[in-house]
């Protein structure tokens, strides 16, 4: 399913590269011992280093380095044994040192890739060019004082990983899938919380177009700071269309930085090439020795790596016989994959049915109540037990659904609830038979109608029986007995 933009003259394809900024999960900042946690009193989690005070020197946080290595390994990437911190020089109110410490020509992580799934279910491999460590900037608040902007440096110096893809995505969908996958990987690794709303994961998109079939790379525009996957897809769609319109009208695209406006669903110029900064990158002399990653460190991190989503999904399919879609949905979050595996361990719980119960009934309750799998009250063991109880006929599916709500509300296991509320399914044929006889007797015209061929009336009888048994009768037995009695 190729993404093609139809112009008046040509058909066009889009070329997309993404730069993803991930805030590293760490206690302290990249170069200081101030807290990396956000929020709180302005300028409170700021050391003199982060505020660029005279004579202050950066010292790199070893854990942030490990997090970058871990992410690199998760992206199947080369880990550079030696990398170099460089200064990116520019003046801005939220940049206290007058430069950002980043990595330029020698990043900590080199070539890697991740695999995304396309709409038709096939896989596509997207190349990753590099990952580097850098400092975040502070923030400006504009509405506190007339004529002034207020500067809060709490974020200044927090570690970021910038992950740069190769320009290998060719539709908004692919870009979205890449971001989703990237988010999932960093969350699984525990290197970034992936929270796009709060800005701990941000993205810039480099977009260009070319006539279908051509291999040229035309001038690209950078669309900055798109803070959701949906916006990213919209921004790319708009930007690509804009390029096509410009080209088809005989114009040319200028290399520039643009901002996406979600309300108008369009991008607009932020700064043109003439205002492009001359960043004067050079190796930071305060950190002049190379950042060294030893073999020992790489081996240790490898041994600590969790199973990543793709591997785990593959194992779910192989080990539990799950359908591909179910496996994919379960591994979208580490918490849901863990939950499933715990539930599926319960004796008598069929893995496929457990997955189904989880992805349909449990998921519906979670969506309804806007809670996440991490915060659910129902223990995974209870869900597994619930599957087993349906399986052995103790309860019906409808009761199971009710029990999910009850378990969540009462924080109690299914067995005790079934006992207390008398929810055990009635499978006693004689008892059900008696009820059915009474119902047929009380509804002679419907029975007559059924026998005359109105088979839809079966539903009416099933409903009546369920009503009479308080929903506890085994539906299989009801159906079987009703068919026997009514055909007499």
């Amino acid at each position: 399913m190729k993404y093609v933009i139809k112009g008046n003259k040509h058909e066009w394809e889009v070329v997309i590269g993404l730069e993803v900024h991930c805030q590293v999960i760490s206690n302290a900042k990249l170069f200081s011992d101030a807290s990396a946690a956000s929020g709180g009193t302005p300028n409170d989690t700021v050391s003199f280093i982060d505020a660029g005070f005279p004579g202050m020197l950066p010292v790199v946080n070893e854990f942030c380095v490990e997090q970058a290595v871990k992410t690199g390994l998760g992206l199947n990437a080369e880990i550079n044994r030696k990398s170099v911190f460089a200064r990116k020089n520019y003046f801005y109110a939220d940049l206290p040192q007058g430069y950002q410490i980043s990595q330029y020509d020698k990043p900590i992580v080199g070539n890697g890739y991740l695999d995304i799934e396309l709409e038709d279910g096939s896989a596509k491999r997207i190349g990753i060019e590099r990952l580097h460590l850098e400092q975040d900037a502070g923030k400006s608040v504009h509405d506190l004082l007339p004529g002034k902007s207020c500067i809060d440096l709490n974020r200044s110096g927090v570690a970021l990983m910038e992950i740069v893809s190769k320009p290998e995505m060719s539709s908004p969908y692919e870009a979205g899938a890449y971001m989703t996958k990237m988010r999932s990987i960093v969350r699984w690794l525990g290197t970034c919380d992936g929270n796009m709303d709060e800005g701990s994961m941000r993205c810039d998109a480099n977009v260009s177009v070319r006539p279908v079939g051509s291999s040229e790379l035309r001038t690209r525009c950078e669309v900055k700071n798109v803070n959701s996957i949906r916006y990213l897809m919209q921004a790319i769609e708009y930007e690509a269309r804009r390029h096509v319109d410009v080209y088809e009208n005989g114009g040319s695209i200028e290399q520039e930085t643009r901002l996406f406006n979600p309300a108008a669903k369009e991008t607009r110029t932020m700064r043109g090439k003439e205002n492009a900064n001359d960043y004067r990158y050079f190796p930071d002399p305060d950190l002049s020795f190379p950042l060294t990653v030893t073999e020992e460190l790489i081996e240790r991190i490898k041994s600590e790596m969790p199973e990543l989503p793709d591997e785990r999904a593959a194992r779910f399919i192989k080990e539990y016989g799950l359908p591909k879609d179910d496996a994919a949905r379960l591994v979208s979050e580490m918490a849901s994959a863990d939950y499933f595996e715990k539930a599926a361990q319960v004796k008598g719980a069929d893995a496929r049915k457990t997955a189904n119960l989880m992805l349909v009934e449990l998921a519906a309750m979670l969506t309804d109540r806007k809670i996440s799998i991490e915060n659910v009250e129902i223990k995974p063991e209870w869900l597994g037990r619930l599957t087993a109880l349906v399986e052995d006929g103790t309860i019906g599916l409808r009761t199971a659904k009710d029990l999910i709500i009850m378990m969540e509300d009462t924080r109690r296991d299914p067995d005790s609830l079934i006992e207390e509320k008398g929810l055990r399914q009635v499978s006693d044929t004689a008892a059900i038979e008696k009820i059915i006889d009474g119902i047929i007797e009380a509804n002679p015209s419907e029975a007559e109608g059924y026998r005359a061929g109105k088979e839809k009336l079966m539903g009416f009888f099933v409903g009546q029986v369920m009503k009479a048994t308080g929903g506890k009768a085994n539906p299989g037995i009801i159906n079987k007995l009703l068919k026997e009695k009514l055909s007499k």
């Binding site: 505020a51 660029g52 950066p58 790199v60 007058g98 001359d278 004067r280 050079f282 002399p285």
Partner: protein
Amino acid sequence: MNQLTELTIAELSDGFGKKKFSPSEVTKAYIENMAAHREYNAYITETPEEALSAAAEADSRAAGGRRLGKLDGVPLGIKDLFCTKNIRTTAASHILENFIPPYESTVTKKLLDAGAVFLGKTNLDEFAMGGANITSYFGHTVNPNRRKTDNAEVITGGSSGGSAAAVAGKLCAGATGTDTGGSIRQPSSYCGIVGMKPTYGRCSRFGIIAYASSLDQAGPMTRTVEDAAIMLGYMAGFDEKDSTSADTAVPDFTAALNKGVKGMTIGLPKELMEEELNGEISLAWKEGREILEKAGAKFTEISLPNMKYALATYYIIAPAEASSNLARYDGVRFGLRVDGKTLDEMYELTRSAGFGDEVKRRIMIGTYVLSAGYYDAYYLKALEVQKLIRRDYTEAFKTVDAILTPTAPTTAFTVEESKAFDPVTMYLQDAFTVPVNLAGLPGISVPVKTASDGLPIGLHLVGRHFDEETLFSAASVLERR
């Protein structure tokens, strides 16, 4: 003249220990001297009250026989580039005129922990950029030595000119300096004192206002080689707050003082021997060589073929780093602000008013050599040449233990004379000291004689990385002449 201020650090320590006099008495004597010699303009900020209270504490330690070591109670001057907690620190710049650091530099903290008494913050070239101490916002310093031929007042050299004047003029027993291209050694030579720039990484740079981070290094400025060895012992050491500080053990430098130079091989760079030097400087160099030879050192010619590129290399690398290091002076968080309608206007007005001409010139050069299109030709090329210079020294130190040259090409000059210099001529004053910073090596300037005009001449010894001890051994021979 007060006898107490004539004593060396070693003598003071001895006297304190034997209770011949107290830290407070010595401190008071220095405070009197400071007041009597404001014409040197050696101090930007004097801190007599803090000094007296620190001295009183040292008094009681001395009285109770609990002295912390040789520096306990010794009055020092601190170059106003070291951040000192709650004491104004200006870098001799208008832009930091009212800056009061809420923290202490590692070097000054070590000195305070050793019981040293700080008399105040000494004058310097603005942000340590200069070789004559004439770029200070607080006015130039004056050399306590006068030129006999015309009784002219001469400059101290720079950038640690205030420290040099204070030590030479007996306004402190010793002082801290910093040296990026010669800023300890060259003023020491001009003022007739001892100045040691240790190996890069020997002293922590934490809390020292940066000029060129890859070259800046703190060191002692004293009246004797022994005092320099004592002071450096307290200033040096690994600091986890400075990634470039060396995790190398600090030896007892004073143990090297009496080792002599027997068996030592000292190199003379042939490139310098072939150059036409100032006659008196050349003579002093020759005499220094004779002293060391008499004491048992062997001399041999070495070659430093790339030394001729050192100054040009320095004047690319240092301004490049400075242009970035000084970007933080923007009127937002500390220091001077000149308001503007926009952010950029505020930046420009603040920085233009806050920085002096030499600082601006170096920021401009530094910005230029890092800018798009020029980076490779200037900055990258300079880094490559720096490697050549380092290799020259590595090669030379395969055959020699130390290298002897003059510290500076001339003796001190007057402010008027310096005004006639173009920037490049001014930069040439550092020709013998700059290569040492580029190679990260230790160097010491020792006063050896007085020129016919009455002004001091210093000789310069350069050693291997982390081999300050050899320099102290040789320097103490030179000094004893």
